[in-house]
Symmetry: C2
Subunit: 159 residues, 2 copies
DNA sequence: TGTTGACTTAGAGTTAACTCTAGATTATAT
DNA sequence: ATATAATCTAGAGTTAACTCTAAGTCAACA
């Protein structure tokens, strides 16, 4: 079986423009052309495409994805380099996910901050007496609740 | 205590250029100026700044962060809107982290693919006999190993 | 057999988020 | 007192990743 650029675009939920852009940037050297010069994707090409989509999602720049595809086209001499590339980006992705977990924790504490303000009808319950400045103890109070076993993803939930 | 733009930039590990850009985009309406027109950040401003940094990390566009800051400056009438904003972006971040987890799983399976190819000295051990196409059963084999209790983050590790 | 609609290329346009330059002012350190 | 460093604004420049336009080719259907 072979597929047109439009069919592939539909399957991957990305535009034909984007696929042509990737091709221009050297990400799709494996794609065949028919007699009229039109791209014909093979079943095996989806193995490459899912790697491209994965690396995109991982935040790898298009240019570097091109480097990886180059390695793939070169053959067995680059197996180690390809492994190292993936190993590197696995570590980067793990680091990013750890950062995002902290971001999520912060978002949940802020939701709790607003939930309690909402219940009081005013944000000023979190201020230091007689000021417009947030009492640093408020965050500590939230952390205390979490330390005592409360679920952070539930603490800030309304109702 | 008050802080110059350079001191704040150092603390947050972002450039003064970027802070001025954020100010231009309306993210820092709370920052005071001294007699010479220079920005003076207060201790309480760091509460706003850490929200800005958090939303940035969560992938919220600068313009939308500006909308949130506007709500903050308006007062208690916007408490619900601010809660809803954070709730929305919490959900989006959770969805993103789930996608990244799938991406990480894929990266690990590909590492295993190259680890085993490396041990064999050639990628062709994963091809269908007599072709240059990857055997779909290879991925199933990896999933089988994981289902049998192997750790995905260890399976693709060298040594 | 014509007429849609999908495809081709080259190249221009867009957007977000910086990042920097120029020219002026102000603060700090000998 | 003076040189160096930090700050200011307005506005220009950069980069990545698309996104689209124009002008033409090709395929499928009534």
């Amino acid at each position: 079986m072979s597929y047109s650029i439009g069919e592939v675009a539909d399957k991957l939920a990305i535009s034909p423009y984007t696929l042509r852009y990737y091709d221009k940037e050297g990400l799709l050297p494996f794609v065949d052309r028919n007699a009229a010069g039109r791209r014909r994707f093979k079943d095996n090409d989806f193995n490459f495409l899912e790697v491209i989509v994965c690396l995109k999602e991982a935040g790898v720049p298009v240019k570097q994805i091109g480097d990886f595809i180059d390695l793939c086209m070169t053959g067995d001499a680059t197996l180690q380099a390809r492994y190292d590339f993936l190993d590197d980006h696995e570590a980067k992705l793990e680091a990013k996910m750890a950062r995002l977990q902290h971001t999520l924790d912060f978002l949940r504490w802020k939701k709790w901050y607003y939930k309690t303000a909402l219940q009081a009808g005013t944000e000023s319950i979190h201020y230091l007496p007689g000021t417009n400045q947030v009492d640093p103890a408020v965050h500590a109070e939230f952390n205390q609740l979490v330390a005592n076993g409360a679920s952070p993803e539930k603490l800030g939930t309304l109702n």
